[in-house]
C-alpha cells in the first residue's frame, strides 16, 4: 500500500495537466462540428458566385436564405410553420398519452401484457405509412388523418420505452420500497416513476423524432399548408431553393423541440447527468 502512493501521485499529475486544454476544447468542440458544413456551404457559394455552376438545381446558401426571408416577409412562413407545429404537437400529445398509458399498463400488470402486447407488437410490424390509405378513407383527407398518422408514429416508441423501462426496474430497489412498506401508489410515485424517467425521456425524444418524420409524410400526401406542403410545392414548381428552405426549417424545428424536451427534463435527471458529462470528456 505504501509503495503505491507515490506512483498514484505521479500518474495524477499529467492527468491534471491534460484537463486544462480539454477545458479549452469544450468551447472549441461544437465549433469543430460546424466547420465541415460551413466549408461546404461557403465552397458551394463560391462555386456558384464564380460562375462554375449556375446553381439552378442546387441553389447556394444565399439563395436558400433569401427564399426563407421572402417567405417570412410575406407571412407565409409563419402560417406553414404554425400548421406543421400544430399537427406535430397534437399528434405527439395523443401518441404520448396513449403510449404512456398502454405501456404503463403492460409494464405493470403482466396479465395485461400477455393480452395486449402481442397485438401491439404485431401492429408495430406494419410500416406505419401503410395506414395512410385507410386513415384517409376513415378520417378524411384533412387534419384528422394526418394527426392520427403522427400519433401512430409517436405511439410505438413511447409504448415500448415505458413498458421496457418498467420491466427493467431493478427488483432490488423495489424491495427497498417493500421493506419500507410503501403502498401501491407510493411505490409507483417514489420508486417506479423516478426509476423509469430516464428511459421515458429517451422514448419521448425518439417519439418526437418519428413525429417529425410522419408529419412530412402526412403533408406530402395532401395539404394546402405546412412545411411538407412547401416541399411538395417546391418540387412541382421546380423551386429547389424553397425545398431546401423547408428542409432547413425542419432541421431547426426538430432540433429545437428535441432540445426543449432535453432542457425540460434536465432538472429531473440531475442525479444522473454527471455520468453523461463524464462520458463526454
Amino acid at each position: 500500500m505504501i509503495s503505491d502512493a507515490p506512483v498514484l501521485q505521479q500518474s495524477s499529475e499529467p492527468a491534471e495537466a491534460a484537463a486544462k486544454p480539454s477545458r479549452l476544447s469544450r468551447y472549441a468542440r461544437p465549433m469543430l462540428g460546424i466547420l465541415l458544413p460551413l466549408i461546404l456551404a461557403l465552397g458551394w457559394e463560391l462555386v456558384v458566385w464564380s460562375g462554375w455552376s449556375n446553381g439552378r438545381l442546387v441553389p447556394p446558401p444565399s439563395r436558400v436564405f433569401a427564399t426563407i426571408a421572402e417567405l417570412a416577409r410575406s407571412g407565409e412562413l409563419l402560417r406553414h410553420i404554425a400548421a406543421t407545429l400544430w399537427r406535430v404537437g397534437l399528434g405527439f400529445a395523443f401518441g404520448v398519452v396513449a403510449g404512456t398509458l398502454l405501456g404503463a399498463i403492460s409494464g405493470y400488470w403482466s396479465l395485461a401484457r400477455r393480452l395486449l402486447d402481442p397485438t401491439v407488437q404485431a401492429l408495430r410490424a406494419i410500416p406505419s405509412l401503410a395506414w395512410v390509405p385507410l386513415f384517409i378513407l376513415w378520417l378524411g383527407i384533412f387534419e384528422t388523418s394526418k394527426i392520427a398518422l403522427i400519433a401512430v408514429g409517436v405511439f410505438f416508441p413511447v409504448y415500448l420505452g415505458v413498458m421496457g423501462a418498467i420491466l427493467s426496474v431493478d427488483r432490488k430497489i423495489v424491495e427497498v420500497g417493500r421493506i419500507f412498506r410503501l403502498s401501491g401508489p407510493a411505490m409507483i410515485r417514489r420508486i417506479l416513476l423516478p426509476a423509469v424517467l430516464p428511459a421515458y425521456v429517451v422514448s419521448l425524444r425518439v417519439g418526437l423524432g418519428l413525429g417529425w418524420m410522419f408529419v412530412v409524410a402526412a403533408e406530402l400526401i395532401g395539404a394546402s399548408e405546412g412545411l411538407g406542403y412547401l416541399l411538395l410545392d417546391g418540387q412541382q414548381l421546380g423551386k429547389p431553393a424553397q425545398i431546401l428552405a423547408a428542409i432547413v426549417i425542419f432541421a431547426i424545428l426538430g432540433k429545437l423541440t428535441d432540445w426543449l424536451i432535453e432542457v425540460g427534463s434536465a432538472p429531473l435527471l440531475r442525479w444522473q447527468d454527471a455520468f453523461g458529462r463524464a462520458k463526454e470528456t
Binding site: 424491495e175 427497498v176 421493506i179 419500507f180 412498506r181 423516478p194 442525479w271 444522473q272 454527471a274 455520468f275
Partner: protein
C-alpha cells in the same frame, strides 16, 4: 423476542432451501448466522424480513406473526441499494415519509452526523465510495429505530480495512438503541467480532447445525488468544457442518483469511 419456529422453505423449482429452522433471539442480542453456500441463510433472513413467505413454520416478533415487511424490522443488504435519484439525506429519510418535515430533517441530520457523513448530505449516491454508501444504507435502516435489524452479508463487498471500520461502527451505532441484530455472513472473523451467539447452518437442505456463544466483552480485540479460540471453534464447527476433516484447515489458512463462501 424474535422467535423462529420450524421455518421451512421450498422454492417453486423444488429446491429445498430451509428445513425446520428454529431459534429464539432475545431483544438486543446480536446473532450471526454462518454456513457454507446454499445453506439457506439468506432465505432465512428474507423470511424474517417478510420479503419471502416461509413454506411452513412461523416467524414471530413479540408474539406477532411476520408475513410481510414490518415497521419494527429493518434490513441492510449486501449492496447499499440507495435510490440513485435521491440525495444522501433523502435516502436516509426515505422510511420517515410519515413524519412531519421538520422532525424528519432533524432525525436525518442526526443520523448523518452519527455515521460521519454530515458533509455528504446533499451528495448523490453515485458520488459515494462503497463504504460511504453502505454507511448511508445503515443510517437509512436505523433511523426509523427498528427493534430488529437484519444484515445480509452487509460488508462482504468492501475491502478489508473498510469492512473492519464498518464492523466497529455498526457496534457503536448498535449501542445507541440496542436493537436485535441478525447478521448473515460467511466471514468467521466478522461473526466472532460482532455476535453474542453464532448459529452454524448446514446446507442442503439448510438447517441449524450448531450454536456457539461468544462470551467476550466488548470492544473485542481481534488479536487476543481468546478471540482466536472462538474463531477456531466456529471454524471447526463449520468444517464439521460440511463433513470436512478438521486439522488441515488451520495449516492452510492463517488468521484473518478465514473467509467462507
Amino acid at each position: 423476542m424474535l422467535a423462529l419456529d420450524r421455518v421451512s422453505k421450498t422454492y417453486p423449482n423444488g429446491v429445498h432451501a430451509l428445513a425446520r429452522f428454529s431459534a429464539e433471539i432475545r431483544q438486543g442480542e446480536i446473532v450471526a448466522i454462518i454456513g457454507g453456500s446454499g445453506c439457506g441463510k439468506s432465505t432465512l433472513l428474507r423470511a424474517i424480513a417478510g420479503l419471502d413467505r416461509a413454506s411452513s413454520g412461523t416467524v414471530t416478533l413479540d408474539s406477532e406473526a411476520i408475513a410481510s415487511p414490518h415497521a419494527k424490522i429493518g434490513i441492510i443488504f449486501q449492496e447499499p441499494r440507495l435510490l440513485p435519484w435521491l440525495s444522501v439525506a433523502d435516502n436516509i429519510g426515505f422510511g420517515l415519509a410519515d413524519l412531519p418535515a421538520t422532525e424528519r430533517r432533524e432525525k436525518v441530520a442526526r443520523a448523518l452526523e452519527r455515521v460521519g457523513l454530515a458533509d455528504k448530505a446533499q451528495a448523490w449516491p453515485r458520488e459515494l465510495s462503497g463504504g460511504q454508501a453502505q454507511r448511508v444504507a445503515i443510517a437509512r435502516a436505523l433511523v426509523p429505530q427498528p427493534e430488529v435489524l437484519l444484515l445480509d452479508e452487509p460488508f462482504s463487498a468492501l475491502d478489508a480495512f473498510t469492512r473492519r471500520d464498518l464492523q466497529d461502527h455498526l457496534l457503536d451505532l448498535w449501542a445507541d438503541t440496542r436493537p436485535t441484530l441478525v447478521l448473515v455472513t460467511h466471514d468467521v472473523d466478522e461473526a466472532v467480532v460482532l455476535a453474542d451467539r453464532v448459529l452454524v447452518m448446514r446446507p442442503r437442505p439448510g438447517r441449524l447445525f450448531d450454536q456457539i456463544e461468544i462470551n467476550l466483552g466488548r470492544p473485542r480485540d481481534r488479536n487476543s488468544p481468546l478471540f482466536e479460540n472462538f474463531k477456531r471453534s466456529v471454524l471447526t464447527s463449520l468444517d464439521r457442518s460440511l463433513d470436512r476433516s478438521v486439522p488441515d484447515r488451520d495449516a492452510t489458512q492463517g488468521p484473518g483469511q478465514a473467509m467462507w463462501w
